[in-house]
């Protein structure tokens, strides 16, 4: 995947681009806002990673300009600005995701992958499949190997999110934000507990585990075969 990283701090830029390269991505780095805007406007990248505070032009101005010009490349804000209004401001300006420095690298990789897979226009798929697991989104039913599984609404939402990102890692924070709308770090094991319940229903009686734990990163649903 081709990623544009707009970051003025050379240490962070080197760290992020090395990490992304090692995960198999091609990274282009812009050192200030103007170069960043120029490169992003070319629309040749799959994802743009954007700092908020940049020399010459700040991140919010860049994204507003891009969106106004009709550039739809997914943008992830990567920033030290963690004020309670900053995230909302970044997303309202047209950002697709917001990650606060410092971050775990696994979190960045997972979010970048999730952004890239986000199709420009969401196709109205009503049945999602992973291996022998099937989710019917209109009827709100789940079956595995033809057997009906009863899920509570929140469990359904959790499974749907995993399945929509099938084959990719989703992190604990991504789940907290998207399933519970929690924009803070709870001190308890909410995600772990709910995933374990979901596993009890979806995986336990079927031999093959679809929901896998990715150590130090998060969870991933995939067909191991």
């Amino acid at each position: 995947m081709k990623i544009l990283l707009v970051e003025d701090d050379p240490d962070t830029a080197a760290y992020v681009s090395k990490g992304l390269s090692e995960s198999g991505h091609v990274v282009e780095v812009a050192k200030d806002g103007r170069d960043g805007l120029f490169l992003a406007a070319g629309e040749s990248h799959d994802v743009v990673i954007l700092d908020r505070m940049l020399p010459k032009m700040d991140g919010i101005a860049i994204i507003k300009t891009l969106r106004a010009a009709g550039v739809r490349t997914p943008v992830l804000f990567l920033t030290t600005l963690d004020g309670i209004n900053d995230r909302v401001e970044g997303l309202e300006a047209g950002g697709d995701d917001y990650l606060i420095k410092p971050f775990a690298f696994a979190e960045l990789i997972a979010r970048v992958s999730a952004l890239n897979r986000r199709p420009p226009i969401v196709p109205m798929q009503t049945v999602l499949k992973v291996g022998d697991l099937e989710m019917d989104l209109t009827r709100r039913t789940v079956t595995r190997a033809g057997r009906r599984i009863d899920l509570q609404p929140r469990e359904f939402k959790l499974l749907e999110y995993l399945v929509r990102h099938a084959g990719h890692v989703v992190t604990r924070t991504m789940l907290l934000e998207n399933i519970w709308d929690f924009h803070f770090d709870p001190r308890t094991t909410i995600v772990e507990t709910h995933i374990s319940r979901l596993r009890g229903k979806v995986d336990r009686d079927f031999g093959v585990e679809l929901i896998q734990t990715v150590r130090g990163a998060g969870y991933c649903i995939r067909d191991p075969s």
């Binding site: 709308d181 929690f182 924009h183």
Partner: protein, 459 residues
């Protein structure tokens, strides 16, 4: 205060303005009065001349020229004291009687400078108002009044008015100054207090007289602003102290760990384990740091402006659903009874975190087997939220302290937690004007949230 400075003060300018307006209005009044008075005096004089003329004309009609001549001479001899002038001329234009030389013959009212005949000598010329009448057989009769008295009366009136005007303008300036000084003295007091505050004494407050006028309101508002600034500064101070105090310990621990791993002879597995621990330590430090800043930001109220309607019922249900399995895994029970359709104005993210922190606090401090009860009711006046448990509870003298930053009960020192969870709760409650109370649940702890009436906060 030097003179040029004095001329620049608002007190002087205001006084001058008062005086100008007052002087102008007095002047207009004076012009009108002067005109009325002089006009009245003049008309009176003309009226009295007219009356005399009528009576002399009557003499002539009944007695002819001789009677008239006698009458004119008689009146002329008495006229010295009243400054009256008489003249009777024959049709040939010769002086027949009276205390004047000849005059041009004309009918009606006119003014003329004349030299009166007195004791046969020529007197200095004086301005006289005349009325002349040409009698039917060509005789000419004129009666006049010296204008000197009228002019003197005019001067008198004028002088009186000038003095009165001067006095009133002086009074206006003086009164204006007194008034302005009284008023501006209070503003000056505000200025002096402000300067003291600027120099660093934030404890100073502006004196309020209790008169409930604009200046009192200004003073009150300034004082409230100062209170706010002071509490913000104290809060900043508090944050710095907290950071210095509570981040130093974990940072020191991290440093020790890094130093230890640097010692020679460690195996790769040891390195990795120690680095993992160091990362975990760093994450804890960052979390504490973030929480501290977040509380400070919440206390700065930057979010109040963005308050929207938040459904408390949904919020309670979401939290209950999210945490019930967590409780169950710890051998506890979380039950909820939530009234439907309860809304307040607020920030959904912050309210969620507030409630989550209270519930997590209960989950963390209650032993296995405890029951945690979440309730949301509509209350008699406003919504009431309660999170209660039957765990160990909080000693009475500690209840108020649990909302302090980094405060932890003695027995909780060993459980994980930053001691910031409930401070954040207090901060969120404060900006939402939620009445927060900790009570004894007999047994256990009971957190009560008395929500404001819909729409109350932030307005």
């Amino acid at each position: 205060v030097t003179l040029p400075n004095f001329l620049r003060t608002a007190a002087f300018k205001l006084a001058l303005l008062y005086a100008t307006i007052f002087g102008l209005s007095s002047f207009v009044l004076f012009v009108f009065l002067y005109w009325s008075i002089t006009n009245y005096v003049f008309e009176q004089t003309r009226g009295s001349i007219g009356l005399e003329m009528s009576s002399l004309a009557e003499e002539w009609r009944t007695g002819g020229e001789k009677t008239l001549e006698k009458e004119v001479n008689e009146r002329s001899s008495k006229a010295d004291s009243v400054s009256s002038y008489y003249l009777l001329q024959s049709p040939a234009g010769e002086h027949v009687a009276g205390n004047l030389g000849t005059l041009p013959v004309r009918d009606g009212s006119f003014e003329q400078l004349v030299a009166p005949l007195r004791a046969g000598t020529n007197q200095p010329r004086v301005a006289v108002l005349f009325e002349g009448r040409i009698l039917p057989d060509g005789w000419f009769l004129a009666i006049g009044r010296d204008l000197k008295d009228i002019r003197e009366a005019y001067d008198l009136v004028l002088r009186a008015f000038v003095i009165a005007l001067g006095a009133s303008v002086a009074l206006a300036i003086l009164g204006g100054m007194l008034m302005s000084f009284g008023f501006l003295k209070r503003i000056e007091a505000i200025n002096r207090t402000s300067e003291t505050i600027i120099r660093g004494d934030l404890g100073q407050r502006i004196a309020v007289l209790g008169t409930h006028d604009e200046l009192d309101r200004l003073g009150n508002n300034l004082n409230r602003m100062l209170d706010r600034i002071q509490s913000l500064m104290e809060s900043m101070q508090q944050v710095s102290n907290d950071i210095a105090h509570d981040l130093r310990t974990p940072l020191a621990r991290l440093r020790q760990r890094l130093e230890r791993v640097r010692w020679p002879g460690s195996k790769l597995a040891d390195y990795q384990r120690e680095v993992d621990s160091a990362i975990a330590d760093t994450d804890d430090i960052l979390a504490t740091f973030a929480a501290t800043l977040r509380i400070a930001q919440i206390e700065a109220r930057s979010r109040v402006a963005g308050f929207k309607a938040v459904c408390l019922s949904d919020l309670f249900t979401t939290i209950a659903e999210a945490y019930a399995p967590v409780a169950e895994d710890q051998g506890q029970r979380l039950v909820a009874s939530v009234a439907a359709g309860v809304n307040i104005q607020g920030d959904a993210d912050l309210l969620t975190q507030m409630l989550a922190n209270i519930v997590e606090n209960a989950l963390r401090h209650c032993p296995s087997g405890a029951t945690i009860d979440m309730r949301l009711s509509n209350g008699p006046h406003a919504p009431l939220g309660v999170v209660s448990d039957d765990g160990p509870g909080i000693p009475e003298d500690e209840r108020a302290k649990v909302f302090r930053r980094f405060y932890r009960l003695e027995r909780s020192r060993t459980t994980p937690g930053s001691g910031l969870g409930l401070s954040l709760v207090a901060a969120v409650a404060d900006i939402h004007e939620i009445g927060l109370a900790v009570r004894d649940n007999e047994p256990g702890a009971r957190f009560e949230m008395q929500f404001p009436l819909r729409g109350a906060p932030g307005l």
